[in-house]
């Protein structure tokens, strides 16, 4: 199958203020050479430590940020060479839509639901009559089970779950092929979250929309995603089919991450505690593994040579010298 989205060596460095007038200018390596492929209709879960670059990667994929380096192809067409603002006006824009973490912050409080959903349609689709616009808004609202009587309400008159649905309706109204969701349910109650997850799953099955789903809730990723990508300090350290990775994570960080999932019932295995501090994303040495200093399985070799992302089997990749 041809890839819907193909990122190669995607990189984002943030320049930092100098600590002093004569100090050298430094950079924060938020995303550092990420390869990521998403095929149509696939749900990919992106997980990793807070600050490891998930949101930055999500924003790069949506072309809300300009990459420092790397390529990004959408249906085979290179889109990373356009500036973020040129991309915003391009025809490809509607193919990738983003749903943000906090529905309260991402919906403009001054517009009613109708206008919020109509806005991306007006911006990204060819102009059409009022009736056609109404029909599109109504269809998007119906697709997320938003009751029609809510269409004239303002965001502050909606519950958290309803706001989340408006956010998703906005994103799917223009018929995207890929939805990028940055912690879309972390502000929601478990009960409302259940409805939103089932909605996303249905949109994927019925419309073949691919999902890039950033989440800290590994139980949610397990339920929703076919494939999981684990990041650590700006890099992918493991990727593969969700079932296989959950059953037997190969990278020591992935193991620690999965063992820390809270559980209602007493856990079967002891948690791998990650002691020590993560290395700084600013000026960390490039000639050693980024997990050095915290890795429970570290060997002398790890401090001398940085591991490359390598295939573990046909579907899995891992970035560790010793993973098998």
């Amino acid at each position: 199958m041809t890839a819907l989205l193909e990122a190669r060596g995607l990189t984002k460095y943030y320049p930092l203020r100098r600590p002093g007038p004569f100090a050298p200018r430094q950079q924060l390596r938020a995303v550092d050479g990420v390869d990521l492929t998403i095929v149509p209709g696939e749900a990919v879960g992106l997980v990793g430590e807070s600050g490891c670059g998930k949101s930055t990667l999500a924003r790069l994929v949506c072309r809300l940020l300009d990459p420092t380096a790397g390529t990004l192809r959408l249906n085979g067409t290179e889109i990373s060479t356009l500036s973020a603002s040129a991309f915003a006006r391009s025809a490809a824009r509607r193919q990738i839509q983003m749903v943000f973490q906090d529905p309260t912050e991402s919906l403009n409080p001054r517009f009613p639901v109708f206008e919020l959903i109509a806005d991306p349609i007006r911006r990204l689709l060819p102009r059409e009559g009022r009736a056609a616009l109404r029909a599109r808004v109504a269809a998007a609202a119906a697709a997320v089970n938003l009751p029609p009587e809510l269409i004239d309400r303002f965001p502050h008159q909606l519950s958290g779950g309803q706001k989340a649905r408006v956010g998703i309706a906005r994103a799917i109204a223009v018929g995207p092929q890929l939805l990028v969701l940055d912690e879309p349910t972390s502000a929601l109650d478990v009960s409302v979250q259940a409805t939103v997850l089932q909605l996303l799953d249905r949109l994927r099955r019925e419309r073949g929309i691919a999902l890039l789903f950033v989440s800290h809730d590994l139980n949610v990723v397990r339920l929703l995603c076919d494939r999981i990508v684990v990041m650590y300090l700006g890099q992918v350290v493991e990727s593969g089919p969700a079932a296989a990775v959950y059953a037997a994570p190969a990278h020591p960080y992935a193991r620690a991450l999965l063992s820390a999932i809270p559980s209602l019932t007493p856990r079967e295995q002891a948690r791998t505690r990650l002691d020590g501090d993560p290395q700084s994303p600013i000026g960390a040495p490039l000639d050693r593994c980024r997990f050095c200093g915290r890795c429970p399985e570290e060997q002398p070799e790890c401090g001398r040579r940085a591991p490359a992302l390598r295939p573990l089997d046909a579907e899995r990749q891992v970035r560790c010298h010793f993973a098998r």
């Binding site: 600590p19 430590e49 807070s50 490891c52 478990v190 809270p262």
Partner: protein, 322 residues
Amino acid sequence: MTQPLLSLRGLTVDFVTRSGTVNVLDDVAFDIGLGEIVGIIGESGSGKSVTAYSVMGILDRAARIRTGEILFDGTDVLRMSRAARDRWRGKDAAIVFQNPRTALNPIRTVGDQIADVMARHTPASAAELRARTVAALKQVRAPDPERRMHAYPFELSGGLCQRVGIAIALACAPRLLIADEPTTGLDVTTQAVVMDLIRSLARSRALSVALITHDLALAAEYCDRLVIMHAGHVVEVAPTARIVAAARHPYTARLLRSVPAQVASIGELQAIEGALPDLRRRDLPPCRFAERCDRRRPACDAGRLVPQAVAPGHTVACRNPL
């Protein structure tokens, strides 16, 4: 439970709004023991944050505490003078807010914000404050604290902002910590580090903790007891293991069935139908879950609903419990 540090008694809070008076807490009562971690669980709008803000004395101006007592070490903080309450809040009680980014001052570096709190508590030299700020950031596992203390909130990821908020709360060595969704937005390994830190303070320094969360799995892992709230009522209180294994209130049972950790596939998740009732209503039924409950019967609507003990340390406010 050990000897209580905090006791809420009959706490009833209204909000006066343009469209009427909203009764957001009705007769809320529970205790938090010395060194105990109590989880406060419930869907959004159930009154968890209002409970927390009532204790801290930082309620919105529109709020009216109609009745109730908030006893801290036997003293009703609601009867303290304003100055005494402020001193108490600076020294004995601290809160971690739900939304870390909005809780921080956007135009001051995070290091300065931590140092401010420390200086207010125990004045010290600039060098000393600096060292303690670095230590406070280290304690919450912020990477590269010497550099990060100079960062502004917008430069930090959501998770780092949260850890800064926790560092600020712990900076004055409080006896009571109210943590309002403290690890929402943190990855599970960082969450574990932060929660392990909170738990170790509870065990070693007898820090009492109210952990407000909608993550039942997290609460189950760290809390000694759970308080389940629904629409301004405390509906069930019990030791954590009992809630998980033998919940008696229909709402608690439904909540447990909507937790992703509990199911094998997405289709098995069960949302709770309906929403919280409109708390402005004058005709709220005695049980505010009644309109969503499949176990409702005529007795449920007969007069005021009082929590009953169903086992030692386990109380339920329901006329037809499971």
